[in-house]
């Protein structure tokens, strides 16, 4: 044995001795402590996007190219002696939209939490306009030659601050309260047909409002009985109430247009709910609430001379009372049969006075809904993990039909759409399931919903013939007769420990049962989606995920003015939208220090808008152009690598390739040029980048501790 080796052997022997004496015990405790102590981490770094990404960066705070700070913290500390926790979670602290929450809790006793959150939406469109006063109540629209105005960045910012409190008052009785205040500021692209032109002009909706929400509840839970009761209040304050737009005619004559804004409102609700376990297999529940919403702010146009009839009120005195109640029962009367039943009552009663607003007799039209809904469902469990569920839902809704102004014929001239006094819908469904299998679980389900209602209230009966008014020929989509069939098949397959896959197909078909005497509105439609997901654990260190899904939605809508559906004035739209999405993921550990991952996402949507006349000709004629399909494509490849520097710190590197393409014509003329507001006026141009490609590289240092 060489001297060198002798020394090595001796040191090893010494170390072994010390390990035997102390190290083993400490090593085990350390490992357990590491496994059982809450984790904390702080990460900081910087990233850079190579190009603007107006569409994909609308919400994430990284719309423009350039560098961004990447800062996140997640601190979770527990005092083992008294069970107090301190949690601090900060996300995206280096960006404009960011979150921070701090919680201090003594578990089971009390807790207080503070929240701050900022959400920013940056409008992905580019506006070049002569508008002055963006975001203000007073706006002035100076006519410009398109493209010669100022570039306007429109965005909406929400700053929410909140406080939460919890206290256990006695065993089984807790008090929870939260208060949130949100300041919403910014501007949204808006529009108006001004007083002197039939062409819409550009303007912005100024947003400067405060919302507050207070939620307080007592929760009691003991043995068989659980009860909750509390109060929820919400207040909306709009610091703007009216937009005054000064625009100019072609001849340069100024005109003023007033646009109303939402006014201050508030709502209050008290509620109580509970559950009682009658037996180990039978449980009853109930809910009851009473709410009142009010809007009694001053109507801003009422104080402006010439904008109101003498009879118009100065405030709406709007009020909506909402009463809700529900009874529920779940039971397993025999070992293999379980039953769920509930009955729900929902009464939305608008008590706003039907004030006359204009000299012509236009009235406020309050809307009431009283709905009773019930559900009965049973599940019978068969051998080998099979079960069958059958159920029926029924909804019966009474709806008010407020009467507005009087027509020559004595009918309601104010309303534009026929209404029904009652709508009811019954749904029957059956479902077979296989669960609790180690390799295959699955579901097959079918349901049929049948919606019907009372006769439609005629709007006008021109010359004693209701069908002479086209408004009486429509089936509004939300109250129309409809038969909806839905199928669902889903399969979970895990043939081996390391591999699992899911397959699902959902299909729905709507038949709107249009009749010869009322042939217009939605005729039929369908929606289908299928998806395949797979997970494969190659080894303990490497895993793959993959998924694909396809959806296809169709709707056929018919529009006309006479009962002759083959007339040249009749139009039928065959709307269709298809989507395909692919996702691939890879996670792996190259060594104990280096882990990598990759995600690929690709999605495409295609929307079609063919519309033809009753004669079969293409609907849009000169100067209008028919609509081409719209395709949206998103490709995103994300790569990351994490390298452990030591036990507590690591470096993370990210690379993202992102491409978004569209041929959306929404803000274009038919020749593909950007949309411009006005005819020889306004001149506001709206454009967008239809092909956005950007690369992101980021690096961050992560420090972990306990």
């Amino acid at each position: 044995m060489s001297e060198k080796n002798k020394m090595g052997f001796q040191r090893t022997l010494l170390a072994t001795a010390m390990l035997c004496a102390f190290g083993g015990a400490y090593g085990g405790d350390d490992e357990v402590a590491m496994l059982t102590t809450p984790d904390s981490s702080i990460s900081a770094g910087v990233g850079n996007w190579s190009s603007d990404r107006a569409q994909q960066g609308a919400y994430d705070g990284m719309r423009d190219n350039g560098a961004y700070g990447l800062v996140d913290i997640n601190v979770s500390r527990r005092n083992e002696a008294d069970g107090t926790w301190l949690n601090v979670v900060g996300r995206n602290l280096g960006l404009d939209p960011r979150d921070l929450s701090v919680d201090y809790t003594r578990q089971g006793d009390f807790g207080i939490g503070l929240d701050y959150s900022r959400i920013v939406r940056e409008n992905p469109l580019d506006f070049n306009s002569g508008l002055q006063g963006k975001g203000d109540e007073a706006q002035r629209l100076v006519n410009i030659t398109p493209g010669r105005g100022a570039d306007l960045d429109l965005k909406i910012k929400r700053d929410m601050t909140g406080v939460r409190f919890f206290k256990n008052l006695m065993p089984g009785l807790d008090f929870n309260a939260s208060f949130k205040n949100e300041e919403k500021n910014g501007e949204r692209n808006w529009g108006a047909r001004t007083a002197t032109t039939s062409v819409p002009s550009f303007l912005t909706e100024p947003i400067d409002s405060t919302t507050r929400q207070l939620d307080a509840r007592f929760d009691y839970a003991k043995d068989k009985l659980q009860l909750s009761a509390g109060y929820y209040g919400s207040w909306y304050t709009n610091h703007n109430d009216l937009v005054t737009l000064t625009a100019f005619s072609n001849a340069g004559v100024a005109n003023t247009t007033y646009l109303s804004l939402p006014l201050d409102n508030h709502a209050h609700q008290i509620f109580v709910e509970g559950g009682y376990q009658f037996t180990p297999t039978t449980r009853g529940t109930f809910k009851a609430s009473y709410g009142r919403a009010e809007q009694d702010d001053t109507l801003p146009t009422r104080r402006i001379t010439g904008l109101s009839a003498a009879v118009a009120p100065y405030s709406l005195d709007g009020r909506i009372d909402t009463k809700r109640a529900q009874l529920g029962l779940t039971s397993r009367p025999i070992k293999d049969l379980s039953i769920v039943a509930n009955l729900r009552y929902d009464d939305l009663d608008e008590k706003t006075p039907q004030a006359i607003i204009t000299a012509g007799g236009v009235k406020v039209t309050p809307q009431d809904y009283r709905t009773i809904a019930g559900k009965l469902e049973g599940t019978y469990r068969l051998p080998y993990g099979y079960s069958v569920t059958a159920g029926v839902d029924h909804k019966d809704q009474k709806r008010s039909i407020p009467f507005g102004s009087l027509s020559d014929q004595g009918y309601d001239a104010q309303r534009a759409v026929p209404m029904r006094k009652s709508v009811e819908e019954t749904t029957y469904r059956i479902e077979g399931r296989k669960s609790m299998s180690e390799t295959i679980n699955g579901t097959v389900a079918y349901s049929r919903s049948d919606r019907d209602g009372s006769s439609y209230n005629v709007i006008d009966n021109v010359a004693g013939l209701a069908s002479a008014n086209a408004r009486n020929l429509v089936n509004p989509m939300h109250i129309s007769d409809r038969v909806r069939d839905k199928w669902r098949m889903a399969l979970d397959w895990a043939p081996v420990e390391k591999f699992s896959a899911q397959f699902s197909v959902d299909y729905a078909n709507d038949d709107y049962s249009t009749k010869s005497g009322r042939p217009y509105g939605l005729i039929d439609g369908s929606a289908m989606i299928y998806a395949v997901d797979a997970n494969y654990a190659l080894t303990d260190e490497w895993s793959l995920t993959a998924w694909y899904s396809h959806d296809d939605t169709k709707a056929r809508n018919r529009l006309g003015t006479t009962l002759n559906t083959a007339a040249a004035s009749t139009k039928t739209a065959d709307l269709r939208e298809r989507g395909d999405s692919i996702g691939l993921g890879l996670r792996g550990e190259i060594s104990s220090r280096l882990a990598i991952g990759a995600d690929y996402q690709w999605s495409k949507t295609k929307s079609e808008y063919p519309q033809e006349l009753g004669t079969g000709a293409v609907a849009a004629t000169s100067p209008m152009s028919p609509l081409s399909d719209i395709n949206n494509r998103l490709t995103r490849l994300s790569l990351f690598g994490k390298y452990k520097l030591d036990k507590v710190s690591e470096l993370r590197f990210d690379y993202i390739f992102e491409r978004w393409k569209t041929d959306d014509w929404t803000w274009q003329f038919s020749d593909g040029s950007p949309f411009v507001y006005g005819v020889n006026t306004d001149g506001t141009r709206v454009s967008f980048d239809d092909h956005q490609t950007s690369h992101f590289v980021g690096a961050r240092y992560i420090y972990r501790f306990q």
């Binding site: 490992e31 409002s209 939402p262 009422r302 204009t358 408004r471 939300h478 699902s504 020749d671």
Partner: protein, 325 residues
């Protein structure tokens, strides 16, 4: 000198061995149980389980110590057996034979023999109160979704409670919403600014599992300006926001289910300018002869019908009732 070091090391080794094995030797000397009583590792009374499922055997199970369940100072926190049952057979027969022994009384993995109802009841024994009062009558419970389908009980980081990762859990089943969330118009869910649970109370039995008693009441929590009541109300707005909007994501702007004029023509008739054909005006601005050609391009019908959610204008009859003011 070298020999001296060697002797010292050997003595150290023996001393170490003696110190570490002393209790066992002492027990042997007394003729009693040779195995010292196992101590709890994480939870109160967990020694029964962690004697086998220790840091070497089941490190992932010990991570429950990172969670609220692992707060031993809170007298209400459970032990392993509170959730998994006493599992006497599992304990007695563990390690015997070559095959897998019997499972615990209550197991929560994919291969469990316990029904979803049984598994959920283990959680509800403590968590039935508060917002889970109505769990049993909700759709999730009645489609065999379990608490453990979404929650990671033995993990300090429960994805479904994380703002930026919750969707990964929900999208495991809700594939349609996974597609829609990536549509050009969407709520900031995939960006992590909102979560599915911002709108849905998955433990409740409210219609559509909304956090408030109705769809509209839920939408008003963030869009309170739409609540009104307005001087002129647009009927479907007062009934259900989802008549016109799909909150999960759409290709049309503003989460509209379909573009104007098609969406509007689903209720409004074909006479007058609202019966206009869908189409794009030509490039010449002079040819945009008015609102009869503006129902599709830009904001579509909303170019003029600006206040479609309701108007507070007392101006002339058509201004308010038709939501242009």
């Amino acid at each position: 000198m070298n020999r001296l070091r060697l002797i010292a090391a050997a003595v150290g080794l023996c001393a170490g061995l003696l110190i570490n094995t002393a209790p066992a030797v002492a027990a042997d000397a007394k003729g009693g149980d040779t195995k010292p009583p196992a101590k709890d590792l994480v939870l109160k009374g967990d020694a029964k389980c962690t004697a086998c499922h220790d840091e070497a055997d089941s490190p992932e199970a010990l991570a429950i110590g990172k969670t609220k369940h692992g707060t031993r100072a809170d007298q209400r926190t459970p032990s392993c057996t509170n959730c998994h049952g006493e599992s006497v057979k599992h304990e007695k027969e563990a390690g015997r034979g070559s095959g897998k022994g019997p499972a615990p009384d209550f197991a929560f993995g994919k291969k469990t023999k316990n029904s979803a109802e049984e598994r959920n009841q283990q959680c509800l024994n403590c968590h039935q109160g508060g917002k889970r009062i109505h769990w049993q009558s909700g759709v999730h419970a009645n489609r065999d979704v379990t608490c453990a389908s979404c929650h990671k009980i033995h993990d300090g980081h429960d994805k479904v409670r994380s703002k930026d990762q919750q969707t990964e859990v929900c999208f495991n089943c809700h594939k349609e919403q996974r597609n829609q969330a990536n549509r050009p118009s969407h709520h900031p869910v995939i960006e992590g600014k909102m979560t599915c649970s911002s709108c849905h109370d998955v433990h409740s039995d409210n219609p559509k599992m909304m956090v408030r008693g109705s769809t509209n009441d839920t939408c008003y929590t963030c869009h309170m300006e739409k609540r009104g009541p307005f001087l002129h109300s647009h009927q479907p707005v007062t009934e259900d926001c989802a008549i016109c909007h799909n909150p999960h994501g759409t290709t049309a702007a503003n989460l509209l289910k379909s573009r104007p004029p098609f969406l509007c023509q689903s209720c409004h008739d074909g006479s007058g300018h609202h019966g206009q054909s869908a189409g794009l005006p030509p490039s010449s601005r002079a040819s945009n002869t008015g609102f009869s050609n503006m129902g599709t391009v830009a904001r579509g019908c909303l170019n003029c019908h600006t206040n479609i959610h309701g108007s507070n204008s007392t101006e002339n009859a058509t201004a308010g009732t038709r939501f242009t003011r």
